[in-house]
Symmetry: C2
């Protein structure tokens, strides 16, 4: 994976990012786009009141549409079953498994069709939920298939139920090919099943009308033939006209109709190396997402002196059925204006420095590493008026399971910048924040990542490699500042004290010879519970080294080594879920439904 | 507090126990009894369908009766308000505070009386609960006062509500002296309030009928004058007839009518010292408790050769209003039989050895220490058929907040022996288990105590002193074995490694000079987060020293030092509370009630 690329959707592997690989910055501008191959087969759905749509399975026989009602704290789902056989499962689970899932089931025993709120146990066995929190609103036969309309509160206060939170939700589905005499007779392990990742709780932002003096620029992959492999990252370089003056990009939207310098797979040996150093991510789009709008008072600077004339379009094709010969010209439409807005928008990197001193022991199910952007750095580098974060993209490598950034002010946790309790490295979106977060001088930004290393034998150290780890939050904000990177890592000297200490305690030989690298030292630790806990204690106590950097890795002036860990004297309360009243529930037991005289 | 005494109810202080103070065992038999002075004023309530009764306030103007319905998972309460003024608060909270309490409120605005489910916030401000889980069943004027009958499920799945669990429940009350225009206008800080500790979920045991060939023996304090002080432990020594043969005690019940050797306050200088060495606790009774029955197949051996001829009655008087001149002859009635039962019952001590190597850092809100009874000890000391635990008494000193003993078999947590999530050192009862727990050879018994040392400046070490700590579960079981004590503590050598280690890490001088005592070493630790966490890691990792002892501190043969910590590969799941259906709830909002034409 030579060519770095950032949005690795539907893929088995994430990929090192431009920012990770690039210490040398070029001025190229990258635009990314993600397309599900199968999704191109279907025509656009008829005019529908649903804002969001996503196919669940590669054959696109199940299509989900939804709306979010924040006043009701509920989601309205429409599940379109195109070729109904004997029924369908749909639901949510922690990480997309069919076990311990919160489900709705539509099934038939051959005579009658039923709809019920159900759940699966740790063996995948399905059970009726005594509290029916999915409320069936309508069943309709449409020309496209059977449409089930139902409603689900975000939280149900039923401990068996999934809590719908901000961030990634792993949707699961299963297709029943034949009748079952009862709900309990269905075992999910025998079905054709799958998962789809999506952000269900889209922010409830009223998008500004696109101003009339807005130009558009379409950047398309030119009628390419999608390779017959599951995952392809296709790159295409687009050159702006010479003398193109500064504009502000105000919106980016997917473009699926027909429109080269380089044009080929991103990992092609033919692609010039310097294209890897594209500096700025402009926009990303993924299935189910709508256009990305900038706040009315800000835009991405684009064109003009000192700016790159090159835009890289990267399309990630996910072709799970390895269909051959499919052609595509997908692209992105940039909306830009010469009426420059008040503020330039910028991107800042929060979290952990890419260094092996931050490591996760093996066989951990939920190990947390934390990176800090300290009060000293924000005091020095932010403007007196502060900055406003409007979007965020969380990033880890393969073992990342949760990510959160919290803003702390005067030693108290103040608000959450972005949080994903079901984070997947295979689903990294730029997400608009529900509410802009203002960061003042002197505030602290604390980014914590939770990792699962159950399947690893050795410690996982921080670094650029796909088998190493990162903990990063790229925040999109305005007004742009010189601060490009505000990250931390444990002080290296204190880590050496740790190695000495556990060596003495265990009376075993941990390689602490000066010539051993930190990675080698970690690889030789005997991981008993004491050594694990003391590493946690070290990370929660030892002083840190700060990277408070401008562009090109230039630090702001000051002492950044051996800094004290920011103190937090009060933490945010867990939000208490609002328990729906009983009116919102269906009667206990399955609902008999009429789906007309036949199947599918 | 020279005289050890074990059941320190309603008192501001717990007290070192007989077992704690006594390494020398005498053969005296102690019987304890606890009486609330105020409680003696009222006459017995009229025949009522409620099994359990307790006065809430010292004036006894509020009296609570209750029944437990395990099939419904609900408690039926009757609150008798003897002199109703403008209303009353009643409820439950974590440790008896009026803040963050789950309440029912009866109040009047001057015209109308209302009843509602409410809760108080962290400032004691009262709010209406949108989910009304206390269901008012009946309001009745009786000759004694106003009787409110209401029902409350154990768990409500409302995060604002208290979860009624096994073990101690802190009941709270408040008396409204004047009308309030609304519920929200009531602030609990301005009221006459108080707390009462009780075990609400009494075990649902059908007590055997007392056999016809049962004798009774009444042991009474002889018409004493209750001292005008808040807390008095009154001791009285009763001598059994010479040649009294072996019997089995099968039941003990409180006796409140009129019936000396020593007779005086337990801490009197006149009391012979050797009376402190009473060995066996026979029974304890506290307010709200019923008689203590032994299982039909077992009894406490009593009388006969080798047994003590002395029974010590200890009555703990709580006289919060410091009433003068009150006289009392309370006592206990022992039911015993000469038809010896199949098994002798015994008492075994589980948990931590009384040693300073087990310590709690200062300023901790929930620090856990754990003591083990290992598989090696149960393998050696239990009979092939195992033993059956039928009752348990949890014990800590002042900083104890939770206690639990779990049985582990084949490396897996198997069942809970006894658990109290709201444990109070001021309320230590012998509790019958809901279900007898059988311990096999090779089983492990794990006793964990959670401590709060927020108000301490220095580490709290294990030991006998009232300002030191203990973590003990006295289990009552049969058949009696030689194993009297099965407890552990961290290996002392590993603790010394800890002191060396943190000394090096902190580059500070922790006193590790060989002549320093462990208590002195702990007192000199600089308690930063690293030193705290590493101590936890040590206790969770280091080998232990076992006390697997017969009577008189004689160890069973074998190597008991440097034993591995028992490994537990799977833990018990938290029970998921059963959420009540909406039928069980009252309509949202207060209920208007008619309490007849007047107050009180």
């Amino acid at each position: 994976m030579q060519a770095p690329s950032r949005w690795c959707r539907w893929a088995g592997l994430p990929c090192p990012s431009v920012r990770e690989a690039a210490f040398m910055y070029s001025t190229a501008v990258a635009v990314f786009l993600v397309i599900l191959v199968a999704a191109l087969q279907g025509s656009a759905p008829p005019e529908s009141p649903f804002l969001y749509h996503i196919p669940l399975d590669p054959e696109e026989s199940l299509e989900l549409s939804w709306n979010v009602s924040y006043p009701q704290e509920a989601i309205f789902f429409q599940l379109l079953v195109k070729q109904l056989k004997a029924g369908v499962l749909f639901g949510m689970s922690d990480r997309g498994e069919l076990e311990n899932a919160d489900l709705v089931v539509l099934w038939t025993d051959g005579d009658t069709a039923y709809f019920a709120d159900a759940w699966s146990d740790q063996k995948g066995q399905i059970h009726l939920d005594p509290q029916q929190d999915y409320q069936l609103l309508q069943v309709e036969r449409t020309p496209e298939g059977l449409a089930l309309l139902f409603k689900r509160p975000f939280g149900t206060c039923d401990p068996k139920d999934y809590l719908i939170e901000d961030g990634t939700v792993h949707l699961v589905y299963g297709i029943l090919e034949e009748p079952f005499r009862s709900l309990e007779a269905i075992n999910s392990s025998g079905l054709r099943t799958g998962l789809q990742r999506v952000q269900l709780l889209k922010p409830n932002i009223t998008f500004p009308a696109t101003p009339s003096d807005t130009y558009t620029m379409d950047i398309h992959a030119p009628d390419i033939q999608i390779p017959n492999q599951v995952t392809t990252y296709w790159c295409y370089i687009h050159e702006l006209p010479e003398g193109f003056p500064r504009h502000h990009i105000v919106k980016c939207a997917p473009e699926m109709d027909n429109v080269p310098h380089f044009n080929g797979p991103c990992d092609s040996k033919m692609k010039p190396d310097r294209l890897n150093y594209c500096r700025h991510v402009l926009a990303a789009w993924a299935l189910g997402a709508k256009a990305f709008y900038y706040p009315e008072e800000a835009g991405i600077a684009f064109g003009g002196p000192g700016s790159s004339r090159y835009v890289r379009l990267e399309v990630h094709y996910h072709n799970p059925l390895v269909i051959e010969g499919r052609r595509d010209s997908s692209g992105i439409r940039l909306y830009y204006t010469d009426k420059l807005r008040r503020f330039n928008a910028g991107i800042m990197e929060l979290g952990l420095v890419y260094t092996p001193v931050m490591a996760i022991p093996p066989r951990e199910t939920a190990f947390v590493l934390t990176g800090y952007c300290t009060d000293k750095c924000t005091q020095l580098a932010l403007p007196p008026s502060g900055i406003h974060i409007f979007a965020s993209q969380l990033h880890t490598h393969l073992t990342g399971r949760k990510v959160v950034t919290v803003l702390a002010r005067d030693g108290r946790e103040w608000e959450i910048v972005n949080q994903d309790n079901h984070y997947s490295p295979h689903f990294q979106e730029i997400r608009m924040l529900k509410k802009m977060v203002s960061v003042h001088r002197g505030d602290v930004l604390i980014t914590s990542c939770t990792y699962n290393t159950e399947d690893r034998e050795l410690a996982t150290v921080g670094g650029f490699g796909i088998l190493e780890e990162m903990c990063v939050n790229y925040v999109h904000y305005y007004p742009q500042t010189q601060l490009e990177l505000c990250k931390s890592a444990v002080n290296a000297g204190f880590l050496q004290k740790y190695f000495h200490l556990i060596n003495r305690f265990n009376n075993e030989e941990v390689c602490t010879c000066p010539q051993a690298s930190v990675s080698q030292q970690f690889a030789s630790v005997p991981w008993n519970s004491f050594n694990r806990e003391v590493l946690k204690a070290l990370y929660a106590f030892a002083p840190i080294s700060m990277h408070c950097n401008k562009s090109s890795a230039v630090r702001f002036p000051g002492e950044w080594n051996l800094q004290p860990l920011p103190k937090v004297i009060s933490t945010l309360e867990e939000p208490t879920p609002h328990c729906p009243t009983s009116q919102g529930r269906s009667p206990a037991g399955p609902t008999i439904i009429s789906i007309g005289g036949g199947k599918g």
